[in-house]
Amino acid sequence: MASFPSYAPSQRSFKPGIYPQRTYRSLSGVVTKRTFGNMPSQSALDLSFDNVDDVTVAAIIEHYKLQTATNRRFNVSSTTMGGISSSLLALANGSADNLRWEYNGPPEVQSVRPGRSSVTVSLLGEIRDPRSDD
Protein backbone atom coordinates (compact mmCIF):
# COMPACT_ATOMS: atom_id res chain seq x y z
CA MET A 1 0.00 0.00 0.00
CA ALA A 2 1.26 3.44 -0.92
CA SER A 3 0.30 6.39 1.23
CA PHE A 4 -1.03 9.53 -0.38
CA PRO A 5 1.89 11.71 -1.52
CA SER A 6 3.18 13.82 1.36
CA TYR A 7 2.18 17.30 0.27
CA ALA A 8 0.52 19.89 2.43
CA PRO A 9 -2.79 20.97 0.89
CA SER A 10 -3.85 24.60 0.50
CA GLN A 11 -7.37 23.71 1.57
CA ARG A 12 -8.81 20.68 3.25
CA SER A 13 -12.32 19.68 4.27
CA PHE A 14 -13.44 16.60 6.15
CA LYS A 15 -16.73 14.85 6.73
CA PRO A 16 -17.04 11.92 9.20
CA GLY A 17 -18.45 8.60 8.07
CA ILE A 18 -22.08 7.54 8.27
CA TYR A 19 -23.52 4.45 9.90
CA PRO A 20 -25.36 1.98 7.65
CA GLN A 21 -28.91 2.83 8.68
CA ARG A 22 -32.26 3.04 6.94
CA THR A 23 -35.09 5.14 8.31
CA TYR A 24 -38.75 4.17 8.15
CA ARG A 25 -41.45 6.66 9.07
CA SER A 26 -44.90 5.33 9.91
CA LEU A 27 -48.16 7.15 9.17
CA SER A 28 -48.25 8.15 12.83
CA GLY A 29 -44.91 9.86 12.38
CA VAL A 30 -42.99 7.45 14.54
CA VAL A 31 -39.54 6.81 13.13
CA THR A 32 -37.89 3.41 13.15
CA LYS A 33 -34.24 3.02 12.28
CA ARG A 34 -32.76 -0.24 11.08
CA THR A 35 -29.00 -0.50 11.53
CA PHE A 36 -27.12 -2.90 9.26
CA GLY A 37 -23.60 -2.73 10.68
CA ASN A 38 -21.48 -1.59 13.59
CA MET A 39 -19.02 0.68 11.79
CA PRO A 40 -19.31 3.99 9.93
CA SER A 41 -18.04 4.33 6.37
CA GLN A 42 -18.06 6.74 3.42
CA SER A 43 -16.24 9.49 5.20
CA ALA A 44 -15.01 12.24 2.89
CA LEU A 45 -11.75 14.14 2.62
CA ASP A 46 -11.38 16.86 -0.01
CA LEU A 47 -7.97 18.34 -0.68
CA SER A 48 -6.91 21.30 -2.83
CA PHE A 49 -3.35 22.02 -3.86
CA ASP A 50 -3.20 25.51 -5.33
CA ASN A 51 -0.48 26.78 -7.66
CA VAL A 52 1.79 23.80 -7.20
CA ASP A 53 4.45 22.76 -9.69
CA ASP A 54 3.54 20.20 -12.29
CA VAL A 55 5.83 17.59 -10.70
CA THR A 56 3.52 17.57 -7.67
CA VAL A 57 0.47 17.27 -9.90
CA ALA A 58 2.06 14.39 -11.80
CA ALA A 59 2.87 12.58 -8.54
CA ILE A 60 -0.76 12.85 -7.41
CA ILE A 61 -2.07 11.63 -10.76
CA GLU A 62 0.41 8.71 -10.78
CA HIS A 63 -0.76 7.77 -7.28
CA TYR A 64 -4.37 7.93 -8.41
CA LYS A 65 -3.65 5.67 -11.37
CA LEU A 66 -1.70 3.13 -9.33
CA GLN A 67 -4.21 2.86 -6.49
CA THR A 68 -7.23 2.78 -8.76
CA ALA A 69 -5.75 0.22 -11.15
CA THR A 70 -4.94 -2.16 -8.30
CA ASN A 71 -8.08 -1.27 -6.32
CA ARG A 72 -6.09 -0.69 -3.14
CA ARG A 73 -6.87 1.76 -0.39
CA PHE A 74 -4.30 3.91 1.38
CA ASN A 75 -3.48 6.11 4.36
CA VAL A 76 -2.90 9.85 4.38
CA SER A 77 0.31 11.13 5.89
CA SER A 78 0.77 13.56 8.76
CA THR A 79 1.92 16.17 6.22
CA THR A 80 -1.42 15.97 4.44
CA MET A 81 -3.25 16.26 7.77
CA GLY A 82 -0.87 18.90 9.16
CA GLY A 83 -2.30 21.51 11.52
CA ILE A 84 -4.94 19.26 13.03
CA SER A 85 -4.62 18.80 16.78
CA SER A 86 -4.00 15.34 18.19
CA SER A 87 -7.52 15.11 19.64
CA LEU A 88 -9.03 15.41 16.16
CA LEU A 89 -6.35 13.75 14.03
CA ALA A 90 -7.49 10.12 14.44
CA LEU A 91 -11.05 11.08 13.57
CA ALA A 92 -9.99 13.14 10.56
CA ASN A 93 -7.57 10.65 9.01
CA GLY A 94 -9.99 7.74 9.50
CA SER A 95 -7.77 5.65 11.79
CA ALA A 96 -10.23 5.94 14.71
CA ASP A 97 -12.90 4.19 12.62
CA ASN A 98 -10.46 1.80 10.92
CA LEU A 99 -11.03 3.47 7.57
CA ARG A 100 -8.78 3.56 4.54
CA TRP A 101 -8.99 6.02 1.69
CA GLU A 102 -9.76 5.59 -1.95
CA TYR A 103 -10.32 8.06 -4.76
CA ASN A 104 -13.90 9.23 -5.21
CA GLY A 105 -13.01 10.27 -8.74
CA PRO A 106 -10.01 11.38 -10.77
CA PRO A 107 -8.10 14.46 -9.57
CA GLU A 108 -9.16 17.67 -11.27
CA VAL A 109 -6.34 19.80 -12.61
CA GLN A 110 -6.53 23.43 -13.61
CA SER A 111 -3.56 25.04 -15.31
CA VAL A 112 -2.54 28.39 -13.78
CA ARG A 113 0.57 29.43 -15.62
CA PRO A 114 3.42 27.58 -17.37
CA GLY A 115 4.64 24.82 -15.05
CA ARG A 116 2.07 25.64 -12.37
CA SER A 117 -1.33 24.07 -11.78
CA SER A 118 -3.99 23.67 -9.15
CA VAL A 119 -5.34 20.22 -8.38
CA THR A 120 -8.29 19.09 -6.29
CA VAL A 121 -8.64 15.57 -4.93
CA SER A 122 -11.72 13.94 -3.46
CA LEU A 123 -11.13 10.93 -1.21
CA LEU A 124 -13.61 8.48 0.24
CA GLY A 125 -12.96 6.64 3.54
CA GLU A 126 -14.17 3.04 3.49
CA ILE A 127 -13.94 0.24 6.06
CA ARG A 128 -10.52 -1.35 5.97
CA ASP A 129 -10.42 -4.73 4.25
CA PRO A 130 -7.98 -6.89 6.25
CA ARG A 131 -7.29 -9.10 3.22
CA SER A 132 -5.96 -6.33 1.01
CA ASP A 133 -5.53 -3.12 3.01
CA ASP A 134 -2.61 -2.25 5.20
Binding site: V31, K33, R34, T35, G37, N38, I127, R128
Partner: protein, 162 residues
Amino acid sequence: MALDIRVCQFFKLVTAPSASAPTGVTHRYQNYFANEAKLFRDELYDFAPFRGEGSMASLNGENEVMRILFPNVEFAVQLLSQANGNRLSVLTLTTQWLTADNAFTGVALPEYCIGIGASLSETTIELRFRSSIDSVTSNFPGRTLTRELVGPLPLDSQLYLQ
Protein backbone atom coordinates in the same frame (compact mmCIF):
# COMPACT_ATOMS: atom_id res chain seq x y z
CA MET B 1 -35.59 8.53 20.38
CA ALA B 2 -36.42 6.53 17.26
CA LEU B 3 -37.24 2.85 17.50
CA ASP B 4 -33.98 1.02 17.04
CA ILE B 5 -33.68 -2.25 15.14
CA ARG B 6 -30.34 -4.06 14.98
CA VAL B 7 -30.16 -7.53 13.56
CA CYS B 8 -27.22 -9.82 12.96
CA GLN B 9 -27.65 -12.95 10.88
CA PHE B 10 -25.47 -15.97 11.58
CA PHE B 11 -25.00 -18.26 8.61
CA LYS B 12 -23.83 -21.81 9.25
CA LEU B 13 -23.66 -24.05 6.23
CA VAL B 14 -22.60 -27.71 6.25
CA THR B 15 -21.94 -29.04 2.77
CA ALA B 16 -23.32 -32.38 1.67
CA PRO B 17 -20.98 -35.32 2.37
CA SER B 18 -18.55 -36.12 -0.40
CA ALA B 19 -15.63 -38.47 -0.97
CA SER B 20 -13.11 -35.83 0.11
CA ALA B 21 -15.20 -34.67 3.11
CA PRO B 22 -17.35 -37.53 4.42
CA THR B 23 -18.97 -35.37 7.09
CA GLY B 24 -19.17 -32.23 4.96
CA VAL B 25 -17.38 -28.91 5.36
CA THR B 26 -18.71 -26.25 7.72
CA HIS B 27 -18.75 -22.54 6.80
CA ARG B 28 -19.74 -19.90 9.33
CA TYR B 29 -20.34 -16.21 8.59
CA GLN B 30 -22.10 -13.24 10.19
CA ASN B 31 -23.11 -10.01 8.47
CA TYR B 32 -23.17 -7.26 11.10
CA PHE B 33 -19.78 -6.86 12.81
CA ALA B 34 -17.52 -5.65 9.99
CA ASN B 35 -14.28 -7.58 9.57
CA GLU B 36 -14.68 -9.20 12.98
CA ALA B 37 -14.85 -12.84 13.96
CA LYS B 38 -17.77 -13.12 16.38
CA LEU B 39 -18.37 -15.82 18.95
CA PHE B 40 -21.97 -17.03 18.86
CA ARG B 41 -23.16 -20.09 20.78
CA ASP B 42 -19.58 -21.29 21.27
CA GLU B 43 -18.74 -21.11 17.56
CA LEU B 44 -16.70 -18.49 15.74
CA TYR B 45 -18.32 -16.71 12.78
CA ASP B 46 -16.22 -14.71 10.30
CA PHE B 47 -17.57 -11.58 8.70
CA ALA B 48 -19.11 -11.74 5.23
CA PRO B 49 -21.35 -9.09 3.65
CA PHE B 50 -24.26 -11.36 2.76
CA ARG B 51 -28.00 -10.79 2.88
CA GLY B 52 -31.05 -12.99 2.86
CA GLU B 53 -34.13 -12.64 0.69
CA GLY B 54 -37.37 -14.54 0.32
CA SER B 55 -39.76 -16.26 2.65
CA MET B 56 -38.83 -18.88 5.18
CA ALA B 57 -42.22 -20.51 5.61
CA SER B 58 -45.80 -20.10 4.54
CA LEU B 59 -49.12 -21.25 5.91
CA ASN B 60 -49.90 -23.53 2.98
CA GLY B 61 -46.63 -25.36 3.07
CA GLU B 62 -45.51 -24.18 -0.34
CA ASN B 63 -41.92 -24.49 0.72
CA GLU B 64 -40.88 -21.31 -1.01
CA VAL B 65 -37.36 -20.45 -2.04
CA MET B 66 -35.10 -18.46 0.24
CA ARG B 67 -31.98 -16.85 -1.21
CA ILE B 68 -28.70 -15.83 0.36
CA LEU B 69 -26.67 -13.35 -1.68
CA PHE B 70 -22.89 -13.12 -1.38
CA PRO B 71 -20.52 -10.91 -3.34
CA ASN B 72 -18.75 -12.82 -6.09
CA VAL B 73 -15.40 -13.01 -4.31
CA GLU B 74 -12.96 -15.82 -3.63
CA PHE B 75 -14.32 -17.15 -0.33
CA ALA B 76 -17.87 -17.22 -1.67
CA VAL B 77 -16.78 -19.12 -4.77
CA GLN B 78 -15.10 -21.64 -2.46
CA LEU B 79 -18.35 -21.93 -0.58
CA LEU B 80 -20.00 -22.90 -3.83
CA SER B 81 -17.38 -25.31 -5.12
CA GLN B 82 -17.03 -27.18 -1.83
CA ALA B 83 -20.80 -27.45 -1.52
CA ASN B 84 -21.20 -29.05 -4.96
CA GLY B 85 -23.14 -26.05 -6.24
CA ASN B 86 -25.10 -25.82 -2.97
CA ARG B 87 -26.91 -29.09 -3.57
CA LEU B 88 -28.25 -30.64 -0.38
CA SER B 89 -26.13 -28.52 1.93
CA VAL B 90 -27.64 -27.85 5.34
CA LEU B 91 -28.06 -24.22 6.38
CA THR B 92 -28.84 -22.89 9.82
CA LEU B 93 -29.60 -19.19 9.53
CA THR B 94 -30.05 -17.57 12.92
CA THR B 95 -31.41 -14.06 13.19
CA GLN B 96 -30.12 -12.46 16.36
CA TRP B 97 -31.50 -9.15 17.60
CA LEU B 98 -29.02 -6.74 19.16
CA THR B 99 -29.17 -3.94 21.68
CA ALA B 100 -28.17 -0.35 20.87
CA ASP B 101 -24.71 -1.25 22.20
CA ASN B 102 -24.48 -4.18 19.76
CA ALA B 103 -24.83 -6.78 22.52
CA PHE B 104 -26.93 -9.88 21.95
CA THR B 105 -30.50 -9.77 23.24
CA GLY B 106 -32.23 -12.94 24.37
CA VAL B 107 -34.20 -13.05 21.12
CA ALA B 108 -32.90 -15.22 18.32
CA LEU B 109 -34.74 -17.00 15.54
CA PRO B 110 -33.08 -20.03 13.93
CA GLU B 111 -34.24 -21.31 10.54
CA TYR B 112 -33.19 -24.59 8.97
CA CYS B 113 -32.89 -24.93 5.22
CA ILE B 114 -31.67 -27.34 2.57
CA GLY B 115 -29.63 -26.20 -0.41
CA ILE B 116 -31.28 -26.62 -3.79
CA GLY B 117 -28.73 -24.92 -6.01
CA ALA B 118 -27.03 -21.66 -6.80
CA SER B 119 -26.48 -19.14 -9.54
CA LEU B 120 -23.68 -16.79 -10.41
CA SER B 121 -23.60 -13.31 -11.84
CA GLU B 122 -20.68 -10.98 -12.40
CA THR B 123 -21.09 -9.45 -8.96
CA THR B 124 -23.21 -11.86 -6.93
CA ILE B 125 -23.41 -15.47 -5.88
CA GLU B 126 -26.94 -16.55 -5.06
CA LEU B 127 -27.42 -19.62 -2.89
CA ARG B 128 -30.97 -20.98 -3.00
CA PHE B 129 -32.59 -22.94 -0.20
CA ARG B 130 -35.90 -24.38 0.81
CA SER B 131 -37.05 -24.81 4.37
CA SER B 132 -36.22 -28.21 5.75
CA ILE B 133 -39.19 -28.34 8.09
CA ASP B 134 -42.39 -27.40 6.33
CA SER B 135 -46.10 -27.49 6.94
CA VAL B 136 -47.69 -30.90 6.56
CA THR B 137 -49.89 -31.08 3.49
CA SER B 138 -51.85 -33.77 1.71
CA ASN B 139 -48.93 -34.87 -0.39
CA PHE B 140 -46.41 -34.89 2.44
CA PRO B 141 -43.73 -36.01 2.09
CA GLY B 142 -43.18 -34.34 -1.27
CA ARG B 143 -41.92 -36.84 -3.81
CA THR B 144 -39.62 -36.37 -6.72
CA LEU B 145 -40.14 -38.11 -10.02
CA THR B 146 -37.28 -40.49 -10.52
CA ARG B 147 -36.50 -43.02 -13.21
CA GLU B 148 -37.46 -45.78 -10.78
CA LEU B 149 -40.87 -44.25 -10.11
CA VAL B 150 -41.74 -43.40 -13.68
CA GLY B 151 -39.95 -46.02 -15.74
CA PRO B 152 -38.90 -45.45 -19.34
CA LEU B 153 -40.91 -42.78 -21.15
CA PRO B 154 -41.32 -42.41 -24.91
CA LEU B 155 -40.11 -39.06 -26.15
CA ASP B 156 -43.56 -37.76 -27.16
CA SER B 157 -45.58 -38.95 -24.18
CA GLN B 158 -47.54 -36.66 -21.92
CA LEU B 159 -47.52 -37.12 -18.22
CA TYR B 160 -50.51 -36.24 -16.06
CA LEU B 161 -49.99 -35.71 -12.36
CA GLN B 162 -53.05 -36.15 -10.19
